[in-house]
């Protein structure tokens, strides 16, 4: 009885599938570099510049999102960071959880990521600076002028 052994390094006969782990690995590195710039910029503008954390309120956010630059910045940060974080938590879950608990945790990570990305994007793109304009001040005048 003889067994045939394929030559070393001959290609596998299995059909090629998408190597998701490879793309996940690549995503962590590319998004990581982008997030370094995005998050450091976010921290500098919100915590260091001006009055630091004391400057942040509704008007501060409205002022930033009046500029498309910060809309794009924050949207990129939301998507890149949440998927980067969720994929990291997936790695930890695969390392430390077993059986049913692992499946439940992976499902929770997936669902929470989809929900929060949709919620965050909705908040950014349907943001209404005139939502509190009835309270008076500069914003009220701006919104009244806007009609």
């Amino acid at each position: 009885m003889t067994a045939t052994i394929p030559a070393p390094r001959s290609s596998s006969s299995r059909p090629r599938k998408v190597n998701w782990e490879k793309w996940g690995w690549l995503y962590m590195r590319i998004s990581g570099v982008l997030l370094l710039v995005l998050v450091f910029g976010h921290l500098f503008v919100n915590l260091v510049a001006g009055d630091g954390v004391h400057a942040i309120d509704f008007a501060f956010v409205a002022g930033k999102w009046a500029d498309p630059f910060w809309v794009v910045w924050d949207t990129l940060m939301l998507w890149l960071a949440l998927i980067h974080g969720a994929n990291g938590m997936r790695t930890l879950t695969n390392d430390y959880a077993r059986g049913r608990l692992r499946k439940v945790l992976l499902g929770a990570i997936l669902v929470s990521t989809i929900v929060l990305i949709l919620l965050g994007s909705l908040v950014i793109f349907t943001f209404d600076p005139c939502i509190g304009a009835a309270q008076g001040g500069d914003l009220a005048q701006f919104c009244a002028a806007k009609g």
């Binding site: 997030l35 370094l36 260091v48």
Partner: protein
């Protein structure tokens, strides 16, 4: 020369067996500790991110609701928490660059231990710039 013929019985060198694990179960030095720190900081940042998306979503509900929650970020306790968060982010960011260099370059794999200390150094410099500024904002009596 090194290949001298030994006469007499060969005795194995005596190696004292360790009485207990020295410090930790794994003894991976810089490589292991950077890995542990990367996981801990990553987890901390992830859970803050979940909360931060939800608190920012309040801008869609009402200015008062958003201002009420964001004002808690200006208290001394949260101010110290923000310092910890920034410390975690800065380490995770710089160590992430170290991981990329280890993965993509032969130079990085050879010098991963040196790069860990460069990461620690850059982290210390960044925090030395950030902490006085942030803590004076938080405790400066605004």
């Amino acid at each position: 020369m090194s290949s001298q013929v030994q006469s007499g019985p060969v005795t194995a060198p005596r190696i004292p067996s360790p009485k207990r694990p020295a410090g930790t179960l794994y003894r991976g030095r810089e490589g292991m500790w950077s890995w542990v720190l990367h996981r801990i900081t990553g987890t901390a940042i992830y859970f803050f991110l979940l909360v931060h998306i939800l608190d920012t979503a309040l801008v869609r509900i009402s200015p008062d609701a958003y201002d009420a929650v964001i004002n808690t970020y200006k208290t001394p306790v949260m101010g110290v928490g923000e310092a910890g968060l920034v410390a975690a982010i800065v380490f995770h960011a710089f160590n992430g660059l170290r991981i990329i260099l280890i993965d993509l370059t032969a130079w990085g794999a050879r010098h991963q231990r040196l790069m860990f200390w460069i990461v620690v150094g850059l982290w210390a410099v960044t925090m030395a710039g950030f902490l006085p500024r942030h803590l004076s904002v938080v405790f400066g009596g605004h």
